[in-house]
């Protein structure tokens, strides 16, 4: 029996682990990966103490801090279900089952999928969820970016230097990303923006050759060799069926990071805390660990 299980090892889970280790709590970490979304980030210029650091570098520093303590980390393992039995919580994963007196859910978010035909077949065959990674393959080619928020605009701006033309497909009536990025996109003669428009099909043979878009003018096929899906994130909260969530499937927490189930806490991007930032996730992780410390004292076995 563990005193605590931390699910997730992004900024929230790692910071919770550091605090829990220093409080000498007996705990383990279960996580699909180390670093979470932070490991995917490009340049970070708003994490205090670092005027400039890349996502992989910052998540390496987090991991180094985590490994400084002798913590049991089950990497490559994913939570599938949470069960409350009496005062204890059972975490069922794809590899086993573990019991604990308390749990911190810090499982973060993942990229949202389009859910249209062709998306799965053409993943990495012209369809990408990471412009930072894959943009260089589209040198001189026409591409589509799906999404008019910050990540969509960021992808379009990165591709402006590489691709021959960029169709920006935006479901909303107007672009919603930061004004400074909107201006950059609008100023480029390489970018065509389609507002109030959705994607209904990704097509091709071995690789992507086009997408079908749909708006009030009807359906239309665009010839593109690349599709970048940038339509936001969804919380990894499906396994936590017994805790209360908001309409975006984010786990509801109070200021002590408590969920509606005693003994189950949550922190970081998987929660309904406003603003998703690495520094906020880290701070929330520390807060959750300190709340657990108090909870364990108050609920001595």
């Amino acid at each position: 029996m563990n005193d605590l299980i931390i699910i997730g090892a992004g900024p929230a889970g790692i910071t919770a682990s550091v605090y829990a280790a220093r409080k000498r709590i007996d705990f383990m970490v279960i996580s699909k990966d180390i670093g979470g979304q932070a490991a995917w980030s490009g340049d970070i210029e708003n994490y205090t103490g670092y005027q400039f650091i890349t996502g992989p570098e910052l998540s390496d520093k987090f991991e180094e801090h985590l490994r400084k303590f002798n913590i049991r980390v089950n990497e490559g393992e994913e939570a599938a279900e949470l069960k409350k039995t009496g005062d204890n919580i059972t975490v069922i994963t794809n590899k086993g089952s573990y019991q604990a007196r308390s749990v911190i859910i810090a499982s973060g978010k993942r990229t949202r999928q389009l859910n249209v035909p062709g998306e799965v077949e053409f993943k990495n065959k012209g369809l990408s969820y990471c412009a930072t990674c894959d943009a260089p393959f589209f040198s001189g080619k026409a591409v589509a970016v799906i999404g008019g928020g910050n990540s969509g605009l960021d992808a379009a701006i990165q591709l402006m230097r590489i691709a021959s033309h960029i169709y920006l497909i935006n479901a909303a009536g107007q672009l919603t990303g930061d004004p400074i990025m909107q201006e950059a996109v609008k100023a480029s003669d390489k970018v065509t923006v389609f507002n109030n428009t959705t994607v209904s099909l990704v097509s091709g043979d071995k690789f992507v050759t086009g997408i079908t878009i749909k708006n009030q003018d009807g359906e239309k096929k665009l010839d593109v060799q690349g599709v970048f899906v940038e339509i936001g994130l969804i919380p990894n909260s499906e396994f936590a069926a017994l805790v209360e969530k908001n309409e975006s499937k984010e786990i509801k927490v109070n200021i002590y990071n408590e969920t509606n189930v005693p003994g189950i806490f949550a922190a970081g991007d998987v929660t309904d805390v406003p603003e998703k930032q690495i520094i906020i996730a880290a701070g929330e992780g520390s807060k959750a660990a300190l709340s657990v410390f108090r909870y364990l004292i108050q609920h001595k076995v």
Partner: protein
């Protein structure tokens, strides 16, 4: 004997950086091929792996797409 290891990558891709770090930490020498700077190499990578996602590792002809730590370990006998 050291295996012939090629890493097709781009400078900015986070998992490329992690894959290369992993090889370095395990003292595995490798050839890094930046596909964003080399179109021929990019085509070669797409032909070998049938896809465009980086990183791609070529370990003595075994093609591994993505930073798949377990498969990389297996291919290298770590």
């Amino acid at each position: 004997m050291a295996k012939n290891v090629k890493v097709y990558s781009t400078a900015t891709c986070p998992y490329c950086i992690r894959a290369k770090q992993f090889l370095t930490e395990n003292n595995i020498p490798f050839e890094n091929i930046d596909v964003s700077a080399n179109e021929t190499a990019a085509d070669e990578m797409v032909a070998k792996s049938g896809q465009m996602g980086v990183p791609v590792l070529d370990i003595e002809g075994e093609i591994i797409v993505g930073f798949d730590k377990e498969r990389i370990k297996q291919a290298l006998g770590l």
